[in-house]
Amino acid sequence: MKFDLKDALRRHGLLLAFGVFLLAVAANADAFLTLGNILDVLRQVSITGMMALGVTFVVLTGRLDLSVGSLLTLLTVIVVDQHNQSGAAAAIVMTLAAGLAVGAFNGFLVGFVGLNALIVTLAMLSFLQGLVLFYSGGSNVNIPNAQETWFAVFGRGDFMGLPVPVILFVVAGIIAGAILRFTTFGRKVYAVGGNQTASVFSGIDSRWAVFWTYVISGLTTGLAAIIMGSRVMGAQNTIGQGYELTVLAGVILGGTSLLGGRGSIFRTMIGIAMLGFIQNGLLLLSFPYYVQWIVTWAVIILAVWIDIGAKRGRIFA
């Protein structure tokens, strides 16, 4: 069989482009490929990465969760504020509970009521933004005794030379990946995303499957908020703004299909890491900060284009 350049480009074009980019940055910035910098990047992506794990479940069913950005803001404000008021342990419990509750509400509206996922989660994004201001009264919160609290371990700690948030991300990723790959629930998620009608004919209750994906998304955003609050030791009212897009970009970049049924946690972790290295590289090459956003845009468009194109059978025609 002869080598098909177009086909190879379509399948591995993004990886190829990424490789070229890595080489270009490495050649121009000595700091890029040092262990310190790599760990830095991983530490940075652990928050979006954690969120992306949950969002991957949602996207695999062919649905979206755009509420995770403002949910991150809300939950970070909660964890920081409650840390000061009720102590670290209680704050963590409350944060996770709130994340689960918001996820369950999204899941109920999308899964059981059958409303459009885009609308439901976009509305939730707006609602949560309002809720943040209502909760915080518009002022920022921070943790005064940052040096003393054990809460610092989640965002700032190290364990055997590795940043704790990175360890948390990887462990959560392994668990999420195992759930998708090896459990009946994971199988249902893929089936519902692949063909909802056939799933129903196979006795799968797609409503519950969809519901739980949103609950998981709420949970991982809660975990991300704990890392975030611990790292920043404070929370502004805009701290999670725009995260929903970065997270989605990572998921898509990994190759999980927006149309549902195809993709994996591993791919998402790769996608998120790629995004992190791109942004880090741009900074090291001393591009201004806003260039990141433009590149994120380009990456999303490209990844979606390839996804849809592959589905239709061809892109460049």
């Binding site: 090896f182 199988r187 692949g194 129903v200 004919f201």
Partner: protein, 501 residues
């Protein structure tokens, strides 16, 4: 008259793990209907997709109207006069008939604005030439399957096609619609169009075609003059042996009643449907496409809700089940449409087979892969399914092999009642009789079986008792001597007339 309009020479096409076409050569004359036959997965659809520009062959030439031609894509093929009418119809349901006929090749002015009037009048002309009863403005989604097919055929007129390929066109047509289709084919033929006709139905092939080319495992076995050959010869070339033409019927040894349906009604779909089926019994449900048979059994299975009526399962009245409950009780439904209802196309055979029974294939919610694999292998050989492995996406399988996985997924958990909705649609002759044997075998093992079929010989051949259904109502029940073609036709057509009159 006998000039060759299209010649395929030495076409080779491989997919990872399979050689779908191996040096295939074939020629089509103007004004001829050329049958292409072969087992499921023999490569028929693939060959036609190469011809229509959907796939690129690795080797070989397409010589069209005397010139070696490169077909760049389906639209290019259509412009050149080669039209493929797909095994699965490929229309845009939200668009109008006219827009669909010219899909992707709409007439526009210099600014890219659609010339609506021209589109409409051209489409109208094409529809008239075919004698279609519907106009160009109707939304395609509202048309029946047969009418949708006419829309595809109208493209032949619209693009003045010189080669038209029909890939299993009669799979979901009623007999009258089939006659209409044949009428259309004959008029295309009279105009000198070369026609390639793919089908698993031998009677049709001997009725309408002039020559027959047999494909087997991607290789041409030979080309025959239809008039000088017979079914046995063709079958032997296809599968290497001849088939018994009679049906095997399960021994009539019935046990207790498994399911009784009483007065099931749903406004607009079916009305007062009652029947029962016993262990070891094969109950046939005959009717024309659209008689409400599928809707009725989908309701029994819990995919739809009835307005009224009740179900009695093994002697006890049950509440309308969900599909999950129905499956757990021991019901299985092989649905009508394998791509929409039957399979998750992007999963492999292994995952599709276990899908309705995840709890049986897992312990503490963790999937048991070894068990899945064992079941996959068991049915792969039992139903002789052609696939490269447990995880080959079923979207890549031939239509008939996909259907076999739908059967596998419902057989593997040992149901008490199995409902088969058009189980042999798109299945080759060899596998078809294998499925008929399977039905008999299942009944003899004590299963209750309901077979829905629009094919009269099939439904009469496998069933112990046949219900005729028309316009959503059961219009007759036949057993023994009474169970014959005339009675079924009478029941169905008498009811239709009285419903109209």
């Amino acid at each position: 008259m006998n000039d060759i309009i299209l010649q395929l020479s030495g076409i080779t096409k491989t997919f990872p793990g399979v050689t779908a076409l191996d040096q295939v050569s074939l020629d089509v004359r103007a004004g001829e209907v050329h049958a292409l036959v072969g087992e499921n997965g023999a490569g028929k659809s693939t060959l036609m997709k190469v011809l229509a520009g959907l796939y690129k062959a690795e080797q070989g030439d397409i010589i069209y109207q005397g010139r070696t031609t490169d077909v760049a894509g389906p639209l290019d093929a259509r412009r050149k006069g080669i039209l493929l009418i797909h095994q699965e119809l490929s229309l845009a349901p939200e668009l109008s008939v006219a827009e669909n006929i010219y899909l992707g090749a709409w007439p526009t002015n210099r600014f890219g604005v659609l010339k609506k009037r021209e589109l409409r009048s051209k489409a109208q002309a094409a529809l008239q030439a075919l004698g279609c009863a519907f106009g160009p403005d109707v939304r395609v989604g509202t048309l029946s399957v047969a009418m949708q097919q006419m829309v595809e055929i109208a493209r032949a007129e619209a693009f003045s096609a010189s080669v038209v390929i029909f890939d299993e066109p009669t799979a979901s047509l009623t007999d009258t619609e089939k006659e209409q289709l044949f009428h259309t084919i004959r008029s295309l033929k009279a105009r000198g169009v070369g026609i390639i006709y793919i089908s698993h139905k031998m009677d049709e092939i001997f009725q309408i075609t002039d020559r027959i080319t047999v494909l087997r495992d991607g290789q041409v076995q030979g080309t025959l003059e239809t008039a000088q050959s017979d079914v046995n010869q063709v079958t032997r070339m296809m599968i290497g042996r001849t088939l018994d033409t009679y049906f095997v019927k399960a021994k009539a040894d019935f046990g207790a009643e498994v399911l009784r349906v009483e007065g099931l009604s749903k406004a607009g779909l079916f009305n007062d449907v009652s029947f029962s089926v016993r262990e070891g019994e094969v109950l046939g449900l005959y009717g024309l496409v659209g008689a409400g048979r599928s809707e009725a059994v989908e309701t029994v299975f819990g995919v739809r809700r009835a307005d009224s009526g009740q179900l009695v399962w093994k002697g006890g009245v049950i509440a309308p089940p969900t599909p999950r409950q129905a499956i757990d009780m021991g019901m299985a439904l092989v649905p009508e449409s394998r791509k929409e209802q039957g399979l998750v196309l992007m999963m492999g055979g292994r995952e599709n087979t276990s899908l309705p029974h995840l709890s049986l294939f897992s312990a503490l919610s963790v999937m048991n892969r070894a068990k899945e694999l064992a079941t996959f292998e068991k049915y792969r050989s039992a139903l002789s399914i052609k696939t490269t492995g447990p995880d080959q996406e079923v979207s890549q399988l031939s239509g008939g092999n996909q259907q076999k996985f739908v059967l596998a997924k419902w057989l593997c958990a040992g149901p008490k009642l199995i409902i088969l909705d058009e189980p042999t649609r798109g299945i080759d002759v060899g596998s078809k009789s294998a499925i008929h044997e399977l039905i008999a075998e299942l009944a003899e093992q004590g299963l209750a079986v309901i077979v829905i079929s629009s094919e009269m010989p099939e439904v009469l051949g496998v069933s112990h008792r046949v219900l005729a259904m028309s316009e959503g109502e059961i219009v007759g029940s036949f057993e023994g001597q009474e169970m014959n073609e005339e009675n079924l036709i009478d029941a169905v057509s008498y009811h239709r007339q009285s419903a109209v009159g």
